[in-house]
Amino acid sequence: MTATGSPVTVVLVDDHEGYRRLATRLLTAWGYAVVGEAADGPGAVDAVRTLRPDLVLLDVQLPGFDGFTAAGLIREDDAGVGIVLISGRDRADYGDRVVRAQADGYVAKEELSPQSLAAVLATARRAARGNAEPA
């Protein structure tokens, strides 16, 4: 829930239709509003551009271009949107690319939960504040 009480809007990006279906069910159950879905990199960028969600759940391995690239493009369009990378792989399998990516956090697909999402977003907010303070 946002401060205004309306549900957090989410765009879900994953190339597996089955995973999207289940994740949408879960997210809806947890109180999120899944406003759009995409199955590839370019689709993700377009969906975010038109739907302006609060949060993007972005699979890393996507047809077209990958989640890292998509995150960079989305961030260019919308500096305020929350971006969380999701993947079936371990975070370490991407080396330092996750850290360098224009995303707020990383959640393994099977770990998807309100708690894990809240945790990475909270960490990102802390980091952003930390960066902003000295300025």
């Binding site: 597996h16 089955g18 995973y19 289940l22 994740a23 069910r25 879960l26 159950a29 079936g88 792989r89 371990d90 370490a92 399998d93 991407y94 080396g95 330092d96 690319r97 697909k109 099977e110 998807l112 939960s113």
Partner: protein, 596 residues
């Protein structure tokens, strides 16, 4: 063994007269000639006889020697028969000292015809393959202008009825009176000589170094001889020179005797050149050049920098170059000749050497053993290259296969387990309030599933580190360093992608070395990782160094981990060295060839 040349063998048979018979005949003719001139009717003393006959006899003997030397070499190109003809005509010159009508006429005509024979020798000596028609035309023109033409001139000028005169005494004639016919007929052979000399100059200038060696002497002789004949021609033509007639005749007689000596010197010198080459080849036999250098040694011996060797591989029925690279057997053409040594290989050389097949044959015979040796080396090198190539292919295929298995695990089983985890989560949300046992069962299942996913990931990572595929070598090494138990830092690593086999080997070298450092180097040790890609000894190489400042004392031969690493690196044609003096840290250094 060598290219078969049936035509030249046939010709060689014709150009090989029996030397003892020749010498016996010539000796007899010499004695008869001297006696004939002494009692020929011109009333000469023995002293006069000697002074009259010495030059023609010297010429005749010199030509015979040339013919014998040339015939001995069984070279069809060096005009054995015209040499013998010239020798015979020189002997006939002696008839000029016998006071008899017919004999005088024969001697007179021989005196001219010998110029034709000389022109023939000059044109045919070391003739090569250039200007065959011009050459034939010159030979014919030489004989026509000194034979039939002179005969016609002689008859029309009333020579048949002329009184015989001592032709051998013409040296003493002061001056002659000539008419137009004399000028025309005496100039014709001179023109043949000048053209012949020009042709020889061209041949000399375009000959290979080793052939030119013998020809230079002959060229000098030809220049002198042509000069003499040009002078005798001018002497008839220019009235002012007619008073030097005797001198001109003397010069031409001296030239006749001396020119064959130049020819002989040229033949001997060419042989000397040949024996130098043979010596060189023999020297190679004593101290075999290092493998692969035979080609250069032969090129120097034969004075042909373009010379190439190819070796035959009986097992494959194909040819390889000295480095073992398969190469087709070239065909002889205008720019190269292929001399095949059956069962060993072939020498590909400059066609200029065709003119001395005996030289190539001599060198080839000497080089044969060495070539056999080199052939084995080349074959081993070729096999080694094949083994290396197949090993590299096997390694690469292994990496590709493992990458695929890893990817399949991730896309298949892993994906399904992840989906299952979400399903359990949905089921958990739908458990009615109060059904604690069902909730607990689902929670347990979820925990078990999480373990299964974790184990599957570890398994996949062991098969192939996905980080290499997903993030590249640089990121992979940085993340290895970050996760390392011993504090590690990546000092340098090239960005960009390299062959999967190389990336994987580097990854495992670093990860194994980090694990070793964590285990053995001690708590205080710090590890640095340096990877540099660059040209090393002429080939693209990736150098990996993992150094720590710990306890040292690691033994590559004892630890199976290091042995395994060495195998992995060597399979890619690389090297792995471990420096680990006790108390001074450990330094693992791997060098891998890589074409990025």
């Amino acid at each position: 063994m060598l290219r078969s040349r049936p035509r030249s063998r046939l010709r060689a048979a014709f150009t090989a007269p029996s030397t003892p018979l020749l010498l016996a005949g010539q000796t007899l003719a010499t004695v008869l000639g001297i006696v004939g001139v002494r009692f020929g009717g011109y009333g000469l003393t023995w002293a006069d006889t000697v002074s009259h006959t010495v030059l023609p006899l010297a010429a005749a003997w010199a030509f015979t020697c040339c013919a014998i030397v040339a015939a001995e070499r069984r070279r069809p190109t060096e005009a054995v028969w015209p040499m013998l003809l010239a020798a015979g005509l020189c002997m006939l010159l002696l008839l000029g000292g016998i006071k008899n009508q017919l004999v005088f006429q024969i001697a007179f005509l021989s005196d001219w015809l010998v110029m034709g024979a000389i022109a023939h020798v000059m044109t045919d000596f070391a003739r090569g393959a250039a200007y065959p028609r011009l050459r034939r035309a010159l030979v014919v023109a030489g004989y026509v202008t000194t034979g039939p033409c002179v005969l016609v001139w002689f008859v029309t000028a009333g020579g048949l009825s002329a009184r015989p005169r001592d032709l051998l005494a013409e040296i003493q004639v002061d001056t002659v009176s000539v008419d137009t016919a004399d000028i025309v007929f005496s100039m014709l052979p001179t023109i043949v000589y000048v053209v012949g000399l020009g042709l020889f100059c061209v041949r000399w200038a375009t000959a290979s170094r080793i052939l030119r060696r013998g020809w230079t002497t002959v060229l000098l002789g030809n220049i002198g001889m042509t000069g003499v004949y040009v002078y005798t021609g001018l002497m008839i033509m220019v009235p002012a020179l007619r008073s030097t007639y005797g001198t001109g005749i003397a010069a031409s007689r001296v030239g006749l005797a001396v020119w064959p000596l130049f020819l002989l010197a040229g033949l001997v010198r060419a042989r000397a050149g040949r024996s130098v080459a043979a010596d060189l080849a023999a020297e190679l036999g004593h101290a075999p050049p290092p493998p692969g250098r035979l080609q250069g040694a032969l090129a120097r011996a034969l004075g042909d920098p373009s010379l190439r060797l190819v070796y035959y591989r009986p097992a494959h029925r194909d040819y390889v170059d000295p480095d073992g690279r398969p190469t087709p057997l070239p065909e002889s053409g205008p720019d190269r000749t292929v001399t095949v040594l059956a069962g060993v290989g072939a020498i590909v050389h400059d066609p200029a050497l065709d003119e001395s097949p005996d030289l190539v044959r001599a060198v080839a015979a000497t080089a044969r053993l060495l070539m056999e040796n080199e052939r084995l080396h080349a074959e081993v090198r070729a096999q080694l290259a094949q083994v290396r190539a197949s090993r590299a292919r096997i390694v690469e295929a292994g990496v590709t296969a493992r990458r695929k298995i890893e990817r399949d695990l991730h896309d298949g089983a892993q994906q399904r387990l992840v989906t299952l985890a979400l399903m359990l989560r949905i089921a958990r949300g739908q458990v009615p309030e109060g059904d604690a046992s069902l909730a607990a069962a689902i929670d347990e299942a979820a925990i078990e599933l999480r373990h299964a996913i974790g184990e599957l990931r570890e398994l996949a990572r062991g098969i192939h580190p996905a980080v290499l595929t997903e993030a590249g070598l640089s990121s992979a090494l940085v993340s290895l360093a970050e996760r390392s138990t011993a504090p590690a830092e990546v000092v340098e690593v090239p960005e960009g992608r390299y062959p999967p086999g190389v990336e994987e080997a580097v990854y495992f070298v670093v990860s194994e070395s980090l694990a070793n450092a964590a285990k053995h180097a001690g708590d205080a040790a710090r590890v640095t990782i340096t990877v540099v890609a660059g040209l090393h000894g002429g080939r693209q190489t990736m150098t990996v160094e993992i150094a720590d400042d710990g306890n040292g004392g690691a033994d590559a031969s004892r630890g199976s981990g290091l042995r395994g690493l060495a195998d992995r690196v060597e399979a890619l044609d690389g090297t792995l060295t471990v420096h680990s003096p006790v108390g001074h840290g450990t330094r693992v250094l791997a060098e891998l060839p890589c074409a990025s």
